[in-house]
Symmetry: C2
Subunit: 149 residues, 2 copies
DNA sequence: TATTCCCTTTACGTTAACGTCAAGCATAAC
DNA sequence: GTTATGCTTGACGTTAACGTAAAGGGAATA
């Protein structure tokens, strides 16, 4: 993992100036890219893979807050090691949810259960890894202790 | 993530028959592969990448418990999203630790700190993802409630 | 002795997730 | 008007992490 960082810089929350006029802010691809420290190419690629479908203004892509959130979730999924295909399956089902048929909904619950189990495994892996880190650090410091006064 | 499973089947602990004769058990590549549900090819590849260096008996590879542990840690690292290159760096430093010079040891501590921060980020990601899952499941069940009696 | 396994190396193939040009349009700034 | 900036669509390139097939060794079993 080359880039563990990523917290989506807060941006100026100067939108709620005098009330609840949120629905205005949109983003160009470059802005969004900078926000999440990815390249525009990455964002276009995600669209091509069916993970985003921004509005178009002529030729240009216009991203709304909904798109930003979806990108955020996508990147989080990636950091968790999911493939784009897996993420897309959830996304598609999610989009189809309101009018979804029973079978789709049950499929969704199925996937959710899988992901949940997955998260548990990951938590366990992290726990174990943290212990490993503690262990190695202890030994490491012990050796250093013997080398430095 | 295609294969979230993986708990390294306990194998028969029939080794400690009458005392502490542990140092005997070794494994062929096929055994090890089956244990961890990977292919022999994967294990050979890890060796080629400098993550394992099993003993040789003639042409055949012989894996000791130390190798098994290292493979286990490697696979865990992978599940956590580390690249083989990252894992190797740690492994190499770890091997060099006992006789390691001060610079290497400090580098090790540096890496450990990075990994630790990384684990924290992952924990946060998992926490958020779990909330997402809860959220989606709730909506999902709500829609189902309206469709089924 | 012949067959069956399991192993070996070599080497080319594959997939996901982008990177990296290239060529061109459009709007804002000068 | 023209220059600069940021966008657009191809299209080919790249990297990691193996998969897969070929050709063969050796020991154990039928």
């Amino acid at each position: 993992m080359p880039k563990p960082s990523q917290t989506e810089s807060q941006a100026t929350p100067a939108d709620s100036a005098a009330g609840t006029l949120k629905r205005k802010r949109t983003f160009a691809i470059g802005e969004l890219a900078e926000m999440f420290e990815v390249t525009p190419r990455t964002i276009r690629f995600y669209e091509q893979e069916g993970l985003l479908s921004p509005e178009r203004k002529g030729q240009r892509r216009i991203y709304h807050d909904k798109d930003r959130v979806r990108l955020k979730l996508t990147l989080r999924g990636k950091r968790l090691g999911f493939t784009l295909a897996e993420i897309r399956e959830v996304v598609e089902l999610y989009d189809a949810m309101p009018g979804g048929n029973t079978r789709q909904l049950h499929r969704m619950l199925e996937i959710l259960a899988e992901k949940r189990a997955d998260m548990e495994q990951r938590l366990e892996d992290i726990r174990l890894m943290q212990h490993e880190l503690d262990d190695v650090e202890t030994r490491c410091r012990a050796v250093l202790e013997r080398l430095e006064p």
